[in-house]
Symmetry: C2
Amino acid sequence: MSQNEPTLKIIPLGGLHEIGKNTCVFEYEDEIVLLDAGLAFPTDGMHGVNIVLPDTTYLRENREKIKGMIVTHGHEDHIGGIAFHLKQFDIPVMYGPRLAMALLEDKLEEAGVADRTELRTVRPRDMVRIGKYFLVEYIRNTHSIADSFSVAIHTPVGVIIHTGDFKFDFTPVDGETFDIQRLAEHGEKGVLCLISDSTNAEVPGHTPSERSVFPNLDRYIGQAEGRVFVTTFASSVHRINMILELAKKHNRLVTVLGRSMLNLIAHARNLGYIKCQDDLFVPLNMANKIPDKDLLVLTTGSQGEPMSALTRIANREHRQIQIREGDTVIFSANPIPGNTIAVVNTIDKLMMQGAKVIYGKEKGIHVSGHGSQEDQKLMLALTKPKFFLPVHGEHRMLVKHAETAQSMGIPAENMVIINNGDVVALTKNSISVAGTVPSGIELVDSSRAGVVHERVLKERQQLAGDGIVTIAASVGWQGQLIAKPEIHLRGVVTSVEKAKLERLVTQALETVVSDRWKEVTHTFGDGEIDVDWTSLRATLEAELRRLLRRELQSNPLLVFLMQTPSEPAPKAAGRMGRAIAGVAS
Amino acid sequence: MSQNEPTLKIIPLGGLHEIGKNTCVFEYEDEIVLLDAGLAFPTDGMHGVNIVLPDTTYLRENREKIKGMIVTHGHEDHIGGIAFHLKQFDIPVMYGPRLAMALLEDKLEEAGVADRTELRTVRPRDMVRIGKYFLVEYIRNTHSIADSFSVAIHTPVGVIIHTGDFKFDFTPVDGETFDIQRLAEHGEKGVLCLISDSTNAEVPGHTPSERSVFPNLDRYIGQAEGRVFVTTFASSVHRINMILELAKKHNRLVTVLGRSMLNLIAHARNLGYIKCQDDLFVPLNMANKIPDKDLLVLTTGSQGEPMSALTRIANREHRQIQIREGDTVIFSANPIPGNTIAVVNTIDKLMMQGAKVIYGKEKGIHVSGHGSQEDQKLMLALTKPKFFLPVHGEHRMLVKHAETAQSMGIPAENMVIINNGDVVALTKNSISVAGTVPSGIELVDSSRAGVVHERVLKERQQLAGDGIVTIAASVGWQGQLIAKPEIHLRGVVTSVEKAKLERLVTQALETVVSDRWKEVTHTFGDGEIDVDWTSLRATLEAELRRLLRRELQSNPLLVFLMQTPSEPAPKAAGRMGRAIAGVAS
């Protein structure tokens, strides 16, 4: 590209090489528009972290450029980061579909940042202008949550189509069909770049319609003789709709468990995405009074999440509901990689308590909300883009998606496979990576007390793996140990006896102090003594660390507390003879 | 069963409701014979644990009954626990196949317990007597490791067939076919009970022959233009054999990475299970001198194990090997549930460095070593057992396997689905669960320093989730704080500033000491003071814990060190006035 050619920068801060925290920056001259801002969940080793956010350094540093945000749909991996970001920088206005905006409003209010932005609701084919350079057109798509959109962004370099999350569901549960006419029209007029969902790029074929699970759920619910428990993602509006319809068909009242599920159902009913009567529902405290064959429990926990209702039931930790012989539990969701063990453990526990558990792909009770290879091809065929940018997937999925695009005739040089933080430079004639911006992650602690810094995470990993040893000792003015050192082990595995360890620590301390005492003390002419406690402490600490590594055959954290005399040095006269405070290790 | 009827007890101590640590006890009157003793690998949350063993309380308490052990094959989940157990109790003799015995011998020598038992090698159709009551017949089977066996155990109640791990591979790589004639003969004569491998009870159909991967590996290795890396399980002798054969066919020299892989290949070559010339191999330090198209690297790491060679290469942490454009990496193994994320992360990293990575089920480069439903049916059909005991699998697999057996006409009352530690009572006429023995798990720390107790694991979990706070304070004889309390935070996330925390801690300590000072001190007639430091410390500690929970919004471990005066109480005369030492928290 020439230096002076008008250039649109596209910078995904999240959503690549991972599932989750989708966050995309569109930047033209002095204006930035964001598309979605999601969160991800922690992986192993991120101890005590429960939310992962993208690094927002770039946005903080360019806060004055931010003109607004495009929200495509209401899933956590697309809207879950917004409340956190609004604490750091302003986003003047956000446009999004009704359901997403209703869910978002709750989040912003809970976080106390509702006044930092303006939420505006859009409808299919709405066009909204953000800043001087961006005209955004909302195109209805089909996905596992209701009210989901792709967008066509008209920019000075051309039209960009961002698919959002999508599949082509030609028989959607809510009857709201994918607006493929608009996609086709853009394809006809000319799309500069397609930015497309790569989640299922490795899966051949076409993702079945959400409706395909209906007859299977119908059969399993119909066959059940006792209570029926159904678990699915709290955000799967269409699935929940079908389950409620089937409950009604089979004359079962519904008890809903799990805050996120209750919340979604309330909003979706309010906005008309779920249509059912109030008297279909029965509160939890009444559920035990309903005959087994008349009850359906709709619950969170399809991923074996430790605190979810179903997991607590499986662990016999739920106060009001216990599994009993005759219950049927239907897992209407596949485990996300990483959750498999938690899910199968939950299944086993439910079975051991007498439940019949319906699970597994071959049962036909779950389909993905993301399009497979044939859906991805149809998207490419409809939009006929000049350039192609696969997003929303791990590296190998992006590679596969790019191969799919190449198989349809888009040249390899017209696409880039990028990392989070890569700056894609798009002109009328070229696509390339032109630099990077900071793109790490920020980890948020469960207590929400704040961000978990790298150092704290490292400490937690060491604590988890090897534990911690606390040693307290007092050294007096004559270089003698005052009292026996105190030793505490936490999370440390050892066959070494405490008494032996105390003896070794005492010996080590005495040896080091006696070896180094001359070096670290200075006796003045008047007999006053000055001690370089800092240096002595450092040597003692290093020696203790060595000793622990050797004796415990592991590498626990060490907290070494050295008390120095609080009284002035003996024979102190005019000079300052107090201890130099030991520096915290 | 009648009380006096001869009864065989079968007690699986591991291998149920989990994959791994297969350990089965056969007990008749005063004799115990063990079948296998494996280990398992830790799951999430078992911080710093790297080996999981079954609780062996029952064996320790009945050590004098143990007459010997049957080893079926050389996999870690069948022999990996033996060395640990031999430190606790003797097993006079072990019978097993040559390869398993060679691998086991190494383990016992490394652990220094080789002299605690006698290893005896068996061949197909060998009969060995163990104790008075057990006559064991070794029946060749087919599995992913060479030299694998099922056994027919002749006992006073009847013949028990234990399948070991098996599939029916009619075209085994080593030509050693499953001795189904012996199984059929037992079926004809009468098998009292079949104890059978349930690993793939949920998988329909027949597990393909190991040989079916050969043409696919051939194609991928043949197509590669640069270096080829192949990773598989270190114990998959047949797979390794085929990979070596293909290396030769495609004129590639082989470098082997990973201690377990090197070890297995050495033994397998030694015993003739792997046949190839010495000059096929090239050591690692020579590998960089071989042209890319002439090299094949056979490596561990197919499960994304953090310390394995391939994972270190993917992380750019391997000193001698770096991935470069043109390399092909073949994953000839499926991820075991729980390892999925580690594996796909490794794949992504290799791809980002330019490697072409061949992975995934549809490539036909891996098959399971365990039979699927049709194999399990054939086993039932051949042996025609009266009673059936599904083992080696998680609960839902056992349930499924039992359903399969019922579909073939074995009545439900002739089978039991059991837990680890259940005592199965088998007579000529009945099978039932007659009690339980201790069956928890023992966790072994990575340092091998010893067993990780439940308390230590709980501490590590708390440390990992919330960190630790160490607070040291000194209280003097007048109930005054001597010097400022010292506070150390490790692994703690907080937005509270250190100075504020110190102020709050100081205030809390001062308040508690002043509130409680009267209660905890006793002034004698002679003016001497006695202080109940233990009680004071307990109150202080409880108060500090409350303060931390409130201020940090989390629940870190607390180590509270309280120094009490080392000098006698003021005005001390004849009485003991020294501090009562504070009890360690």
